[in-house]
Symmetry: C2
Subunit: 498 residues, 2 copies
């Protein structure tokens, strides 16, 4: 793979560092009346608190929210590292050429109306962009939502609500919708991002080069990808193999069906490909293959919060017998086990739980849903003495607290000791060296249960702040965990090859 680019004075890492942490950004196509992508992204950059210098451009000049609109990027009396281009498609080549002349290092083109339209005009415009890029400016897009980097405050198109908290999860997405959806999910699920790139039609920078960079990016510990088509499959699979050997790469491949492939063509102008071939090739390269956006999100959550280990035995605890039975079934489906405790361990656990009605062979089934932090503290510390237990999982059915809270005349948020539970479980994890995972099903999603929804959100936030991953149900939790095990086994199998 060649990074042939005229600007050979900069190393690749320096280039990407300036893309993700530009000192100055010009947004081109900001309407003085507001509305449109240009004003939207400028508002978003201000709202999220972009750290560098911001300039706005509109060919007709004027002002937007008091800010001067330069008539051209060439008039900006400052160097510009990165340009955000949001002008109508037919004007993009001219604007991009001006950026190149200005010495702008790289740009993201949010505008659509290129090869994804399937028209000759769209394809021709895209070819012109590609040609200009080759003469000296890197391009992300067109037809994309751009770059999100919490550390510098670059953000995606509809991104005013995204978090400024940095983390170690990177995400590359051919689809802008998928990028913003995953960024939104990550905000509350606890995914903290290093870099997110929506690259759309990918006329210049796209899957392979970006993945290669992330493979050596010290801020990134796990990479997620949503790809529809790939430009050079051989080069991509080579890089995927290389990167998967040093950090997990979780891949959601869209467009594997006939209808999906048809859609890929109209969505980002790429070609899809056969399901069987792709899935085999991705697995062969060491990628963790997932099925949909939730699967992607939960898998990234597991990789970002669980140490890379080969998890096998899980201790499951909770209140409510059917969940206990289901736990065994779900674990087996995901290739995990619930090792049965011997009587000594089981009796010690039982001594911490209400009698009668509790059982403690694994799953550990407390007689009622109100068993508190102290009890589970003991339960998991005792369970951790069993060498077969690699991980703890606690199921919390918080809606059961409502009748109790009502009868005591206190609010649900005051009633439920979720903060204490988060502290206790984080200490269990740290002291035993075995991770703790939470499952909080939401069985009450009616218009009369907004309070329960609110409680679950606050509890999740408390757990996430302690680095404890929360899943909505057992299947998700166990599947995501088993993906971590699978990756570790893959690594081990590779390194033990002669």
């Amino acid at each position: 793979m060649a990074y042939a680019h005229p600007d050979t004075s900069r190393s690749r890492d320096d280039l990407f560092d300036r893309i993700f942490h530009p000192q100055s950004v010009a947004v081109i196509g900001v309407s003085s009346r507001g509305g449109g992508f240009g004003s939207g992204i400028l508002d978003s950059l201000e709202a999220i608190g972009f750290e560098g210098r911001l300039y706005a451009v509109n060919a007709r000049g004027g002002r937007y929210k008091g800010r001067k609109l330069y008539e051209s990027v060439l008039e900006i009396p400052d160097e510009v590292d990165f340009a955000v281009i949001a002008v109508p498609a037919e004007l993009v080549p001219e604007v991009l050429e001006e950026c190149r002349v200005k010495g702008v290092l790289a740009s993201e083109i949010l505008s659509s109306g290129f090869s994804e339209t399937g028209t000759d005009e769209g394809k021709r415009l895209e070819e012109r962009i590609a040609a200009i890029s080759r003469t000296g400016i890197r391009v992300i897009g067109p037809n994309c939502f751009g770059v999100y980097c919490p550390k510098s405050g670059l953000t995606l198109l509809p991104g005013p609500d995204l978090s400024r908290q940095s983390g170690e999860v990177a995400f590359l997405s051919q689809s802008g919708g998928m990028a913003i959806d995953l960024a939104n999910i990550g905000t509350w699920l606890g995914l903290r991002f290093s870099k997110v790139v929506s690259y759309g039609n990918g006329v210049d920078l796209r899957e392979t080069e970006l993945l290669d960079y992330l493979g050596s990016d010290p801020q990134t510990r796990v990479v997620g990808m949503y790809i529809e088509g790939v430009r050079d499959a051989r080069a991509f699979l080579d890089v995927l193999t290389k990167v998967s050997a040093v950090k997990p790469v979780v891949v959601l491949k869209g467009g594997l069906s006939d209808a999906g492939a048809r859609m890929v063509a109209s969505h980002t102008g790429s070609l899809g490909g056969s399901r069987v071939l792709w899935e085999a090739a991705l697995r062969q390269a060491g990628a963790v293959v997932v099925d949909d956006i939730w699967d992607l999100a939960y898998t990234l959550l597991a990789f970002s919060m669980l140490p890379l280990r080969d998890y096998r035995g899980v201790c499951v605890a909770g209140g409510g017998g059917a969940l206990g039975v289901s736990a065994g079934d779900a674990a087996e489906r995901e290739g995990l086990t619930l090792p049965a405790f011997d009587e000594t361990v089981s009796d010690r656990i039982l001594a911490c739980l209400p009698r009668p009605g509790s059982s403690a062979r694994n799953p550990v089934d407390a007689a009622n849903p109100f068993v508190g932090p102290d009890a589970f503290d003991h339960v998991f510390r005792i369970a951790a003495t069993d060498d077969r237990i690699d991980m703890h999982l606690l199921i919390q059915l918080l809606h059961h607290y409502r009748p109790l809270a009502r009868s005591m005349g206190v609010s649900l948020l005051e009633m439920v000791p979720y903060r204490e539970l988060a502290r206790v479980l984080a200490a269990v994890r740290d002291d035993t060296g075995k991770p703790v995972v939470l499952v909080m099903p939401d069985y009450r999603q009616g218009t009369d249960s907004i309070d329960i929804g609110e409680l679950i959100r606050h509890a999740r936030q408390a757990f996430v702040e302690h680095g404890l991953p929360v899943f909505p149900d057992l299947s998700n939790a166990l599947r995501a965990t088993s993906r971590v095990s699978g990756y570790v086994r893959m690594l081990r199998a590779r390194t033990s090859r002669p």
Copy 2:
């Protein structure tokens, strides 16, 4: 199968009619100080508005919330159809015997402390209950949450919030937790129940006899079951085969793993069994086999709101390209297809959508998420002219409305035209004869997005009130639909056998 029972003067249907619609109920074990199962279920029966006459019993007499506590069921100056028993396990045989002497037709025993404890004492007590039952009183339980019948107002143990709306979904559950969880989910998901029975240890009435009754119950059009162990597998499979031939029976079998089976023993005192054998036998009998409680809930929703047909072709519409691509992939995974519209249909659809950015070959991808009821009205009516389309599916990403609502200074609930959309889509369904399904993903579940959660709940309620099923994501919607197709194909294969 024999329904050998001394009270041969009553037909089976008459018996069950009196169980589900008792004219008088005695709750035995109501503490005058409140608290405990007895007071709990009495409160619940009053809260839900039980239609018959209610009596409360406590051996020490006294009053509870102004209501007289009879010292024994024998003192109640009225006939008693149904007894709810919630006294400590060791007192249950004596109380049950008094009920039999009183002429009580049937009872539910909520108390635990029987064979599920694994103790000799527990087993002995359970055998005594069985013996008393054989001399003239039907028993549901022990170790259960009882009967929920919206029409009469009988309700499950922690059931004050359950709905009084009747419907055609029945649910039999060995686990009380699973019964209450599904009843809770059903309330907002739109499952309307005819009868729900949590039968616990199932000393007398249990899976086989209850299923046989539901098979001929005209109020029940679809049956869900959660079973852990089965007493007489041969008899059960015979009845399952018979009932599956006239209405769908959706079965979640718990305890199919080693840990699950171990848990079954301590949970309801039954024996589980091998996964492979059970799954094959259930499918062979014509049951629809599901994986977990959500799968069960969504499958029951599809069966209760979609006509029984062999769905193959689906028209998927929404705003957001990646969802469109995913739709094709998800459909193929579930054995469904998104037939590509020919150019005439596609052009007509495109004419109703914003340009540029929309595409309309199927999936139909609107350029933005604000495309309204009118447009989708046209889209689906045009799509319905294609004979290959059996069903419509609309994806709504409601959180996109928030920035718009804020900038206009109106609340989200006022902003989003979900009521109008529900009316329009119900009319599309009625006029075209092809069902419409909604998918409303919730990508915003943070503490700062309570308003979006509230909007989704209200929108779901509006759709459900129009008989439109709502699923949280595409995979669930398409999987549940494909289960309906699978059942119809199974029926067809059976009837065409020589």
